[in-house]
């Protein structure tokens, strides 16, 4: 057995308990409703019902939080949404 040294650096709780990031998709008058719905279905693997519900939320409320997760995951979601031409942003916390 080896004794652990007392000088281990303290774990930075700010990075381990980081608040999740949210992916927000914004409404715009250009993207077709069936296109947005299809993107939600094919990219996120959502059911037809869930994809349509989220699409309608974007349409009526002006935006919708599609999902939340680690910064890396949401960053790549934003990039994918921009690839499809959807207006998406990322934000941390509530």
């Amino acid at each position: 057995m080896t004794a652990m040294p007392d000088v281990l650096p303290e774990i930075d709780t700010a990075t381990t308990n980081e608040k999740p990031w949210r992916l927000i998709v914004w409404n715009d008058p250009v993207n077709l409703m069936n296109y947005v719905s299809y993107v939600f279905r094919s990219y996120f693997g959502f059911s037809k019902e869930k994809a349509e519900q989220l699409m309608l939320q974007v349409h009526h409320d002006g935006f919708c939080t599609v999902r939340s997760g680690s910064r890396e995951a949401i960053e790549s979601d934003v990039q994918a949404m921009h690839g499809y031409g959807l207006n998406a942003t990322m934000t941390q916390g509530a």
Partner: protein, 192 residues
């Protein structure tokens, strides 16, 4: 006149006639040129650390300039309201995004060689993406900012009544929208 895209035994197929294909090919190429011009600002200086040159990564100290053309900004929007997060995201991902968009647009332009277009699911998705990028650029030129603007543009349907360049642009926008709409219906049918 174009024939709507439909899902069938051989995949997703539709027909576009020569004048429509000519217009679309020009639009795809116009958007490619816009994106290629933006790609030029990504060039790293020649005296940079070879590691950056090798990986294509951009050093933290070299944020990209803002996108000044509003039509280009529709294609390459900010990733966050937070300017620091948006700048970092742009620095790390914009180059890949441009490459991906140009790829889909080139493929779409190439599809305009023949009347009859037959696509499988992945190629149909990329075609839809290219059509969408063209619509985003046209929408900026047509100043479509809200649903009322969209409704105003949607009224322009009769080529015989078109008199101004803006009306012509609206007609083209509606053609591209119609093609994308039928393509999405066919893609939805392919999911069932």
């Amino acid at each position: 006149m174009a024939k709507a895209f439909k899902y069938g035994a051989h995949g997703i197929s539709g027909t576009l006639h020569s004048p429509e294909r000519k217009i679309l090919r020009e639009l795809f190429n116009d958007v490619i040129v816009m994106l290629e011009e933006r790609a030029e600002v990504h060039q790293l200086p020649e005296d940079i650390d070879p590691l950056y040159a090798l990986t294509g990564m951009r050093p933290e100290s070299m944020d990209l300039p803002e996108v000044s053309d509003p039509a280009l900004a529709r294609l390459l929007p900010d990733a966050s309201d937070d300017a620091v997060v948006a700048a970092e995201h742009r620095r790390l991902t914009e180059s890949d995004l441009i490459t991906q968009k140009i790829g889909a647009l080139r493929e779409a332009a190439f599809l305009m060689e023949n009347d009859k277009i037959v696509l499988q699911k992945p190629s149909a998705q990329r075609f839809a993406q290219a059509l969408n990028d063209v619509r985003l650029v046209l929408s900026e030129r047509l100043e479509i900012r809200n649903e009322d603007d969209a409704a105003r543009v949607a009224e322009v349907l009769d080529a015989a009544e078109v008199q101004t360049p803006d009306e012509y642009l609206a007609l083209v926008y509606n053609l591209v929208s119609w093609i994308q709409d039928t393509l999405m219906s066919a893609l939805m049918d392919a999911e069932l």
